[in-house]
């Protein structure tokens, strides 16, 4: 997947977790938690959906690295290695 495809995938997954959120104005360098009305259950569902759709199981210790749109895309890009 390209970075653009990864970004689109992350946004699509976020949309399923927080369907009321206006993702067009999402700031890429601000934690999801600070700009979306999401709680710890939503974030768990987000990481579960990432695993389901992109086959990347993000360890809990790495959650902070994937807490923003940029951080999440960077993290997934690195984990998926040569596929991006």
């Amino acid at each position: 997947m390209t970075r653009a495809e990864l970004k689109n995938a992350v946004l699509r997954i976020l949309g399923t977790v927080a369907p009321e959120a206006d993702l067009t104005h999402l700031k890429a360098d601000v934690p999801f938690r600070d700009q979306l009305d999401v709680d710890s259950m939503d974030l768990l569902n987000f990481f579960i959906a990432i695993d389901k759709e992109l086959h990347v199981d993000i360890p809990e210790a790495d959650y902070p690295k994937a807490a923003t749109l940029d951080g999440c895309v960077n993290y997934l890009s690195a984990r998926l290695g040569g596929q991006t």
Binding site: S40, M41, P59, E60
Partner: protein
């Protein structure tokens, strides 16, 4: 029409999923009703044959109205004529005389209507001689308007419930700060070894600790029936869940004290997801025996809740924060949480409430027991 919470007075039948003559089994979902808190699946609590449907889709009826007759122990095809006499269905529109220009209303009802912003002259009275009662005001607040949008109706329903709670229940409040050093380490160790779909949240440890502590202070898992305290048999923890469009619900995790932590986590995820999707079952709204609420995700350090009648207690958890903590004669930094209890003073007292919070703390110091 099942009572799906203290704030519900009526519901509209949306659809039947079973037909007369069908066999129904305890726990089956047989219908859907629309309430101020959304569409709810109605379960049955007996096994038998659905003999007769008494309320048709589109009809709005008061809580307690018989929706259908189920004949226990009757085989499919048995004649419907064998049915027992059916109590007449009360009509939501025939609860009393029509409102007059100057209806009589009790002082308490006028005060309640004023507090809720309702014009008392618009309310149909059901008291002696058509007097508007507090219950009439609450009913009007909960569902009087059929054309208001969902959010407004839910807000009114919540308003009626919390107003009743604060009016009738003498709350007392306790709080304690609990070190989560051990619970946090245990959780991290557990989650490091689990795939993402099986990981636990701190919230489920709180729920389980509350459920187990209720075994030690069972009067907090009770209800007030107007004259005396009654203890509930099962420990069904209602988890306060905010809804994205506004409002909240507190669906039950049944027998939370007897579930494994993994089963409880699966149930927790399931009811929160379904509450937000508007797909709860009737038993999940009617059965909670205590409520657990947490505003930790919103950065709040302590939450003092309003008891949801007829329950007699609500337990709150705030944000997990790092604080100086004295341990083994040294000051160290520990993750801590403020746990609160709001309880009904008619049922119990501060000493027992303190014992309850102490038990919650003890279970969180030994997370392997959860």
């Amino acid at each position: 029409m099942p009572l799906l919470g203290a704030d519900m007075t009526a519901g509209r039948l949306v659809a039947w999923y079973r037909h007369p003559g069908d066999i129904v089994t305890r726990g089956d979902i047989i219908a859907e009703v629309d309430t101020d808190k959304g569409a709810i699946d109605v379960q049955v609590f007996t096994t038998g044959v659905l003999e007769q449907i008494l309320v048709q889709p589109g009809e709005k009826v008061p809580v307690g109205t018989v929706l259908a007759v189920i004949r226990e122990g009757v085989e499919p095809g048995a004649p419907a004529a064998a049915a027992a006499p059916i109590p007449p269905a009360p009509s939501a529109a025939a609860a009393g005389p029509p409102p007059s220009e100057h209806p009589r209303a009790s002082p308490a009802a006028r005060k309640a209507a004023s507090a809720l912003g309702i014009d008392v002259t618009s309310i149909r009275g059901t008291g002696p001689g058509g007097v508007v009662t507090v219950a009439d005001v609450e009913q009007a607040a909960a569902g009087g308007s059929s054309d208001g949008d969902r959010q407004e109706r839910m807000r009114r329903a919540i308003a009626a419930a919390v107003a009743r709670s604060k009016r009738e229940i003498p709350h007392f409040y306790l709080s304690t700060t609990i070190s989560l050093e051990r619970a946090t380490a245990w959780l991290a160790q557990q989650n490091a070894a689990r795939p993402v779909g099986e990981r636990l949240l701190m919230g489920v440890l709180f729920i389980k600790a509350v459920a187990l502590a209720l075994r030690e202070v069972p009067e907090l898992n009770g209800r007030w029936d107007g004259q005396r305290a009654v203890r509930n048999e099962g420990i069904h923890v209602g988890v306060a869940t905010f809804l994205r469009e506004g409002g909240l619900m507190a669906p039950a995790l049944h027998d939370a004290d007897r579930q494994t932590i993994d089963d409880l986590m699966r149930g927790f995820r399931d009811v929160v997801t379904r509450a937000r999707a508007g797909a709860l079952r009737s038993s999940e709204l009617s059965d909670p025996t205590i409520t657990v609420t947490s505003l930790g995700d919103r950065g709040v350090e302590a939450v003092y809740g309003v008891i949801y009648p007829p329950q007699v207690a609500i337990v709150g958890f705030g944000k997990v924060v790092e604080r100086p903590w004295s341990a083994g004669g040294r000051i160290v930094s520990h993750p801590v949480v403020t746990a609160t209890l709001a309880a009904d003073h008619r049922v119990t007292d501060g000493r027992r409430g303190a014992a309850f919070l102490e038990a919650v703390d003890a279970f969180l110091q030994d997370p392997g027991r959860l």
